[in-house]
Amino acid sequence: MITVHIQYFAILREQRGLAHETLATHAATAAALYEELRDRYGFTLPRDRVRAAVNEEFVAWEAPLRDGQKVVFIPPVAGG
């Protein structure tokens, strides 16, 4: 069990109903954590349309999660 700090943006923030939370999880990877949250909160975006960032850098979905990390899931971007 690890504890991670999650920050939500845009459609994920709205679907979660808050902007950040600290969470205890058994998820070993960013991918597993996203699927866990998706089940729990009903996120509409499938994982293949989202990217993961850990400690302010993009990471591969299968990168291992570690205790205390800051995790952000990036919905499809739309700047400009």
């Binding site: 920050q7 509409t44 302010e56 990036i74 919905p75 971007v77 739309a78 700047g79």
Partner: protein, 147 residues
């Protein structure tokens, strides 16, 4: 220079920051909040950024442009918050000795920024509906067709 701004952008000030006696060309791109999108009337926009990562990705894109094109200065600033029709959402400016590099780099910067920088846009329509752009899923489309 890459920056996420919560304040309105002033293109004259931004362009002056690129003044350079060695530069013969300055190309700028401005993204304005448009009153329609795909046939729907738009009344306002919200932009939101994951600022620390946006900043890093923005600087990476600027560095790539400097490697690819013979440019001198390059600036990209993106506004966040609630924007009204006609407001400036993003400003990109590039200087170079010659115009070809300035045009190509400016285009590269805005294309890459739109594709890669973690910034999101929510459109507000005349009927009160809102949509996070690019975030529709098959289910959303089905819903939209029904309403």
């Amino acid at each position: 220079m890459f920056r996420i701004s919560t304040e309105p952008l002033d293109s004259a000030v931004l362009q002056r920051s690129l003044a350079d006696a060695h530069a013969g060309a300055c190309v700028t791109f401005e993204g304005w909040v448009r009153d329609h999108n795909e046939g729907q009337p738009v009344v306002a926009l919200d932009y939101e950024a994951y600022a620390p990562l946006a900043q890093k990705e923005g600087l990476r894109i600027l560095a790539e442009a400097r490697e690819r094109f013979a440019i001198r200065g390059a600036v990209c600033v993106h506004r966040v918050g609630a924007l009204k029709i006609g407001e400036l959402a993003v400003w990109v400016g590039v200087t170079a000795a010659h115009r070809g590099a300035a045009f190509d780099a400016c285009r590269y910067l805005i294309d890459e920024a739109k594709a890669r920088v973690p910034i999101w846009k929510k459109e507000h329509y005349g009927d009160g509906a809102t949509v996070w752009i690019n975030c529709a899923t098959r289910g959303d489309f089905a819903h939209q067709l029904k309403t």
